[in-house]
């Protein structure tokens, strides 16, 4: 193909045309860029904020953590905005990207708050709500099926990452239920069930441990009785890891809230210090912790939920000095 185009006879105007076109592009690009609208909150969040705020790096408040964000939001939206624009503690000014517009930072904060259970920063502006209400009132206008929420181009490009429009689909659309089966349409829709539950960034997008702790759900510990209480053991096991990752803290408490001792001991884990060889490889292959984590309990992408005990840092590599 290339060889063909090289052999094409070029008109004498070829180069002047080329220069004209490229200079036109060159001249209009900055103008287009300046005039382009401020990007949406999710676009900014996905590209610039998620790196820290998705997982809580450097004690940053995580997306979806209502308590953390609620405390900050109490100081007022302006304070949040100023901190984000000018920087505050570990938060670099504009997340370290001075090119982001102030308006875009504002959008990103609103997006984060709206997705951290702070409802007043809802995604839809009020004008849209009144419009849709008016449409509902008007009988002659049939309301269109709800449009799928817009997702950022970054996420839709990443084929391994589901966009938010693909989370918690109703059974008939999830690809494993047969939509021609009558019963499929009678099943509960995950979104309905999850609406009131604490959210997380992975798995079902539900933080099950938090949901249980906050009594958002009250699953039975006994098949027939609501009264039987779990036998909870509060004992943390610390596993030192070889690499640079923080050590693992295994909390018996959260596990015994859900499980019986016999579920893990002795078949999966010998209840004796140093008796268990655990590696990330075996976990990813569905063994040891991977019997549940990566199938029903939060997946291995949530590194810091387990690797949570910071090793003592050497002075030379502490963050402040590095900065």
């Amino acid at each position: 193909m290339k060889a063909q185009s090289f052999n094409l006879p070029r008109s004498p105007h070829y180069f002047s045309k080329l220069i004209a076109v490229s200079s036109l592009i060159f001249l209009t690009t900055p103008w287009l860029y300046a005039a382009s609208e401020a990007r949406s909150g999710i676009q900014i969040y996905d590209v610039y904020c998620a790196g820290c705020h998705a997982s809580g790096v450097l004690q940053s408040p995580k997306l979806g953590d209502k308590q953390d964000w609620g405390e900050r939001e109490k100081q007022g939206f302006e304070v949040l905005l100023t901190h984000a624009i000018k920087g505050y503690k570990n938060m670099p000014a504009k997340g370290g990207n001075p090119a982001i517009k102030d308006k875009e930072i504002e959008n990103a904060i609103k997006y984060i708050l709206a997705n951290s259970g702070l409802g007043q920063y809802g995604k839809k502006p009020t004008s849209n709500k009144t419009m849709s209400k008016a449409a509902e009132k008007n009988d002659s206008v049939k309301t269109k099926p709800a449009q799928k929420p817009k997702t950022s181009s970054v996420n839709s490009f990443n084929r391994l990452m589901k966009s938010s429009a693909e989370w918690n689909l109703p059974p008939a659309e999830d690809g494993i239920h047969d939509s021609e089966n009558g019963g499929t349409h009678m099943l509960q829709k995950p979104k309905e069930a999850f609406e009131s539950l604490s959210s997380s960034k992975s798995g079902n997008r539900v933080d099950w441990v938090k949901a249980l702790k906050n009594k958002e759900i009250s699953p039975r510990y006994d098949r027939l009785s609501d009264e039987v209480k779990p036998i909870v053991m509060d004992l943390n096991i610390i596993r030192e890891v070889k690499g640079s990752m923080p050590d693992v803290v295994y909390p018996h408490k959260q596990h015994t809230e859900w499980l019986d001792c016999s579920n893990c001991h002795p078949a999966l884990f010998i209840p004796q210090k140093g008796a268990n060889q655990i590696s990330m490889a075996s976990i990813i292959l569905g063994q040891k912790c991977g019997v549940c984590h990566g199938k029903v309990a939060f997946p291995v992408s949530e590194c810091r939920k387990c690797h949570s005990k910071q090793k003592p840092l050497k002075k030379a590599i502490t963050n402040k000095q590095a900065n």
Partner: protein
């Protein structure tokens, strides 16, 4: 020029077909097709999320003896009607009874037994999944 359009088309087709088939099932949904399809029924979908809202893991995985392995419990309707496995609750007392066939047998025909959205089902090839086998 048609030559280059055809080339682009071929590239496009290759890229699109390389995209993994997108199942967007709920995390932890277990599809069981041990015997269902052979017996002329749709495979069973077990939604973990639905059950964990209502029961702690211990009820099924300790009291009722469900192994932590998709399809590893060899459940059939006889056992269920006898009150084992699903039948411990799906008996018309705790939850709906066995008459509501199509509520459980609601999976797409031809789907293999697996835990959907699990790390292993995403990362491993079919043959390696069997080797890795996560038996309790």
């Amino acid at each position: 020029m048609p030559y280059s359009i055809r080339n682009n088309l071929i590239i496009l087709i290759i890229v699109v077909s390389a995209l993994p088939f997108t199942v967007r099932a709920e995390y932890g949904d277990v599809l069981m097709n041990n015997y269902s399809e052979e017996a002329g029924m749709r495979p069973v979908v077990f939604p973990h999320w639905f059950h964990r809202i209502r029961f702690r893991c211990k009820v099924c995985h300790a009291d009722l003896g469900f192994k932590f392995e998709a399809g590893g419990n060899k459940i059939n309707m006889l056992k269920i009607i006898d009150g084992e496995y699903c039948g411990a609750c799906h008996n018309g007392e705790v939850a709906w009874a066995v008459e509501s066939c199509d509520l459980c047998h609601s999976g797409k025909p031809g789907e293999p037994t697996q835990v959907h959205e699990s790390t292993t089902s995403k990362l491993l090839s079919e043959s390696n999944k069997k080797k890795a086998g996560s038996k309790q």
